[in-house]
Amino acid sequence: MALRTPVRTGDPTGGPAARRERRERRPRPSATGARIWTWLTLPGTVWMSVFFVASLLLVAAISFGTTDELGDPRFGTNLGNLRALADPAYRDVMVRSLGYALLTSVICLLVAYPVAYAVALHAGRFKNALIAAIVVPFFANYLVRMYGWSVLLSDDGPVLRVLRAVGLAGAHTKILNTGFGVIAGLVYGFVVFMIIPLYAAMERMDTSLIEAGRDLYGGPLRTFLFVTVPATRQGAGAGVVLVFLPAMGDFVSAQFMGGPNQIMIGNLIQDKFFEGQDWPLGSALTMALMAVLLIAMFGYLRRARKDEAEASR
């Protein structure tokens, strides 16, 4: 393999030590400057407080509420909604959703890694164009894209017709309304959240490290495993979180691509808020889902902190 970034290796100031030095030489912000930055966080903080934190507190409050005759929620101190969560149906669906979300994260990682690697390190001047090509389709509404897939993958749809014609699918092969279909939908829906952080990590990576690995007689595989993978682990971690969280709460993929045995927790929550007209129970379910996600998130943060501590040692 050719040298990847000849410019940087030739640059006498390119080493990690030199870069650390440069970082330290950056002018320190003055006191006034610091105050400006503090004020600049205000709009974001207000926005998040009103539309995220307050809404979340309302959801928490409604989970103890009741429903009136019009189907609207009322505040209360009702524990019935939490008790209703003991229904084994919810536990089973929650476990299924966890499994789907984990599998989706792993598949996304496997799919996204080579893509991000190729774009970040080998795409040269096409880099930005390729990233745009990956991101732009995701501007189209997720629901609309899923609906499109359900048409493409239907029994008489173009995908299965082609597969049947070339003998890769039998007369009774189905994609729609299977677990495979749901996970494929989730992967398609969220893979971009994996590609972008991985791409950013690889883009930032000091490629001279790869060359150093080679210089020290590391084969391509060893160099990859002991240099590239550790250097991009944080990006991968961020990607897994960004994919796992929305995949766990998703309802669109299971709705369009799933069958009766692929229902996810998001579908049940959506049912409670809409057709079931039981916002309190929907809120209780949401809180349960958030608790599961928080535990997962907490585990990730601890892991990330440990990584950081190791790296700085």
């Binding site: 539309f51 307050a54 809404s55 979340l56 309302l58 959801v59 409050a61 409604i62 009741t66 429903t67 009136d68 005759e69 019009l70 189907g71 609207d72 929620p73 009322r74 505040f75 209703a84 229904d87 149906a89 919810y90 089973d92 669906v93 048409v151 239907s154 029994d155 008489d156 749809g157 189905k174 729609l176 309304n177 709705q255 799933g258 069958g259 009766p260 045995n261 229902i263 579908n267 049940l268 049912d271 409670k272 808020f273 809409f274 057709e275 079931g276 007209q277 039981d278 916002w279 129970l281 949401t286």
Partner: protein
């Protein structure tokens, strides 16, 4: 038609009492809704914190004169009315129509709760009852409408429907039945019973509607129970019956006509009006069948209504009347696929569904016992739990 339009003193109005006596709670509730909507990602419309309509009976009962009093703010499902009907109305009365759409009945209520002002809305029977009882609808004096006789004269059921005594706040819009749509070429003839859904031939390509009332209602009717039952014993029997159907199912989906058209379904629980879309879009319409079950098929209707806070109720009255003109009703029926209870349109609908005559709705089909109704809050929760158990397996 003077007999069905007295002042509304006889109407039960108990629901006003608690609403008016809990003033502070209302603002708290509207705040709650606004926040909840944000959480749902439905977005705020800028007036989410305003109070929901708290009009007094005197205001909602005031008769509306049929005259232009501003543009028509129209709120309905998407693609429900032939665009030529809209343009005809705009031209004839020289008013603009401002259109917006909802995607579910709860979504419609949420928008009303958020304080949005619409002139004409289209609730289902169940929601019409809730809105009317909560004092959220204007009274509609049928004697002010030129074409009301075409509805109430030929479909006496609507003179005093269960959801709105004497149709005091509503005018019926469309009607439908729920039955089974299937592929004749793959399954042949069926037996005219809900038992057909258990057909081994279509196992793995059978769908139920993704609709709590329809699925529970089907099971209840098959067992000879009340489709609105909330008794735990009944619900348990219905749940275990539906568990025997689950292995045959490919999914719960309300996209009944597309599932039939793209070959995903060989059999599906289906709404009669959606079968017209199948007939219109299929390359070969003779491949499809539609039957209603002898055990009973749920029947439903939706209606025109004018919200209590409507700003242009006079224009709304003109619009309702315009849509009831047989020539416009026929256009709507042909566009939408659902029949309207308007005298003079029956033969047009019959021609539309010649291929699937069971889609026809006769005045005698409109039985209150086959309508989905509003259960008590506790009853609704019991039904919802049963539905969750069926759906999640």
């Amino acid at each position: 038609m003077s007999d069905h339009l007295p002042p509304l003193s006889s109407r039960p109005r108990s629901s006003h009492g608690p609403q008016l006596s809990h003033g502070p709670q209302l603002s708290r509730r509207s705040l709650l809704r606004a926040g909840g909507l944000g959480a749902l990602g439905l977005g705020l419309t800028g007036c989410g914190f305003s109070q929901p309509a708290t009009a007094t009976p005197a205001q909602t009962d005031k008769p509306i004169e049929m005259k232009v009093d501003g543009p028509l703010v129209y709120f309905n499902w998407a693609d429900y009315i032939d665009p030529s009907v809209f343009s005809g109305f705009q031209k004839e009365y020289g008013v603009k129509i401002v259109q917006s759409n909802f995607d579910s009945m709860p979504g419609m209520v949420a928008k009303l709760d958020a304080g949005n002002k619409y002139d004409v809305i289209f609730p289902s029977a169940k929601y019409a009852q809730r809105l009317a009882q909560a004092g959220r609808l204007r009274a509609i004096d049928h004697t002010k409408l030129r074409n009301a006789e075409l509805v109430f004269g030929s479909y006496p059921y609507f003179e005093d429907p269960w959801y709105d005594p004497r149709s005091a706040h509503t005018v019926p819009f469309t009607m439908y039945k729920t039955g089974i749509g299937w592929r004749r070429d793959k399954l042949g003839a069926l037996t005219g019973s809900w038992q057909d859904l258990w057909d081994a031939q279509s196992s793995g390509t059978t769908f139920l509607l993704d609709d709590e009332d329809e699925v529970l209602g089907m099971a209840a009717l098959k067992l000879g129970l009340d489709p609105n039952t909330t008794a735990q014993g009944d619900l348990d029997r219905m749940t275990s019956l539906l568990q025997t159907l689950r292995p045959h199912l490919r999914g719960f989906s309300s996209d009944d006509y597309n599932n039939l058209l793209d070959g995903t379904a060989t059999m599906t629980q289906a709404w009669s009006g959606d079968m017209v879309s199948v007939l219109n879009q299929a390359k070969d319409a003779t491949l499809y069948g539609f039957e209603v079950a002898k055990e009973g098929s749920p029947i439903n209707s939706d209606c025109f209504a004018i919200p209590a806070n409507a700003e242009h109720p006079g224009t709304a009255m003109l619009f309702i009347d315009y849509l009831l003109r047989p020539e416009n009703a026929i256009k709507t029926i042909q566009y939408l696929g659902y029949p309207m209870p308007v005298h003079g349109t029956e033969s047009a609908y019959a021609a539309l569904v010649k291929q699937l005559p069971q889609c026809m709705i006769e005045p005698g089909d409109l039985k209150p016992s086959l309508y989905f109704r509003n259960p008590s809050t506790a009853g609704a929760q019991a039904r919802d739990t049963a539905w969750t158990d069926v759906k999640a397996g």
